[in-house]
Amino acid sequence: MRHVYEFTAGESTPDVEKLLAREVGGAPVPDRLRHLFQQALAHFESLATRAAIVAETSADAFVQIYRGEGLNAPSAPLDVIIPRAQRLALFAATVGDAASAEIGILFGRGEPAAGYALDIIASEATNMLADAAALRFLRLQQARRAVGEDARVLPYSPGYCGWHVSGQRSLFEALQPGAIGITLSHSFLMRPLKSVSGVLVAGPPPAHRFKPTYDFCEDCTTHECRGRMASVLRAPR
């Protein structure tokens, strides 16, 4: 089954206070920055066109897609996660080209602070859109009783955690996200830039658990996997 979803602002509106806290590293937030980010959020909402495409797939089919150009790490989290999954879906989501383009326009117009704030908000909204698509996929599977009540969904994307970015090619061939305006360049770059793609994995919370001790973990600067695993091991949504 393939679904195209549109989303309301409320389903992926970044929390400005959370972004500001990250920006100032826990220091008190100056009013001038709060004003800048609130303006950027309003600007973003006037430009964003949120959409996602979700296509269910089998584990066998996904393994072929995941193999891609054969450039994945020899051992990676999805190798252990996929066999534990109850349901899988390919997905892509975007906040649209206008928001992505406006960032460059603001820099070109000599408004770098506004461009920077808009970039942060658009990136956060894009990531939240992946979560929103994951939630719809979970609700659908739960309604069908295809997954347990405690099931949780996490998105995993090419370019992260050992899944080589070249995997975008086979992912795009299978998913065809051109339907919502997302295209792929020869260097595996998505347009609009503020887009996200990958696989949605539904399964019981422990299905998402892995030890972040792979070779590539040494080069990782974000360690976001820890927060993601923690989020699914808490009470189910």
């Binding site: 920006e23 100032v24 590293g25 220091a27 100056p30 001038r32 920055l33 800048l36 960032i103 460059g104 820099f107 000599g110 408004e111 770098p112 602070a113 461009g115 920077y116 704030a117 970039d119 370019g159 080589h164 970015v165 070249s166 360049s185 020869h186 260097s187 595996f188 770059l189 347009r191 830039l193 080069d219």
Partner: protein, 215 residues
């Protein structure tokens, strides 16, 4: 030597108040303030304070960008006078995102912060051909090339830029700086780049050091 007017420019710059910086710069020009004083005791003095406060977590990246925006606007008034007086800029840097990559936020941040540090920048944009980097460096007399990439598939293009400089016999004259999410110090060493910066402030410090060496 500072004056209340130059101090005012520095203060307005620290607040990121572009309109005030432009108005005070115009006033200082009308009062026949030497262009070099206006640059060094007014604008760059203010940017130095911004840089120190940023380092000490008293100001944040958007503050630096607001200050740099004000600096850029003032430089539009000041640049012709600096040229006429023969006052040298900190240096000229060619910037671009390498072939196949369309990400430009990091490169733009570096550009605006280099301008704020008194550098002249030539921004080639995104998806830039290796030869175009080398060509622009020659055409504009730049001593440093800054390259950005956000993908592991495009970062290898940085090596092509260095090769293009080698083919033109420019490798010893033009320094190369690389940055972007997948790029590392080890990668910079591997491809023979002169430096790697993890963020925009780091890039400014690196370019400043390399420009000094080049000159």
């Amino acid at each position: 030597m500072t004056t209340p007017l130059l101090d005012g420019i520095s203060s307005a710059l620290q607040r990121g108040d572009r309109d005030a910086v432009v108005a005070l710069t115009r006033e200082a020009i009308d009062a026949a303030t030497p262009a070099s004083s206006l640059l060094n005791q007014g604008l760059l003095a203010g940017m130095r304070v911004v840089g120190a406060k940023f380092r000490d977590y008293e100001m944040f990246l958007p503050d630096v960008l607001l200050a740099a925006r004000a600096m850029t606007a003032a430089m539009e008034l000041l640049r012709p006078l600096l040229v006429a007086d023969g006052v040298p800029l900190a240096g000229r840097v060619v910037l671009g995102t390498v072939k196949g990559d369309l990400h430009d936020i990091g490169k733009n941040l570096v550009g605006i912060m280099l301008q704020g540090a008194g550098f002249d920048t030539v921004d080639l944009g995104v998806d830039v051909d290796p030869d175009a980097f080398a060509e622009a460096a020659v055409t504009h007399g730049a001593t440093v090339i800054g390259m950005s990439a956000l993908l592991t598939t495009t970062m290898i293009g940085m090596k092509d830029v260095i090769r293009a400089l080698e083919h033109r016999g420019l490798r010893d004259r033009i320094r190369t700086v690389v940055g972007g999410a997948p790029v590392s110090q080890a990668f910079a060493v591997e491809i023979g780049a002169d430096g790697y910066a993890a963020d925009a402030p780091g890039a400014v410090a690196l370019v400043r050091a390399l420009a000094r060496v080049s000159s």
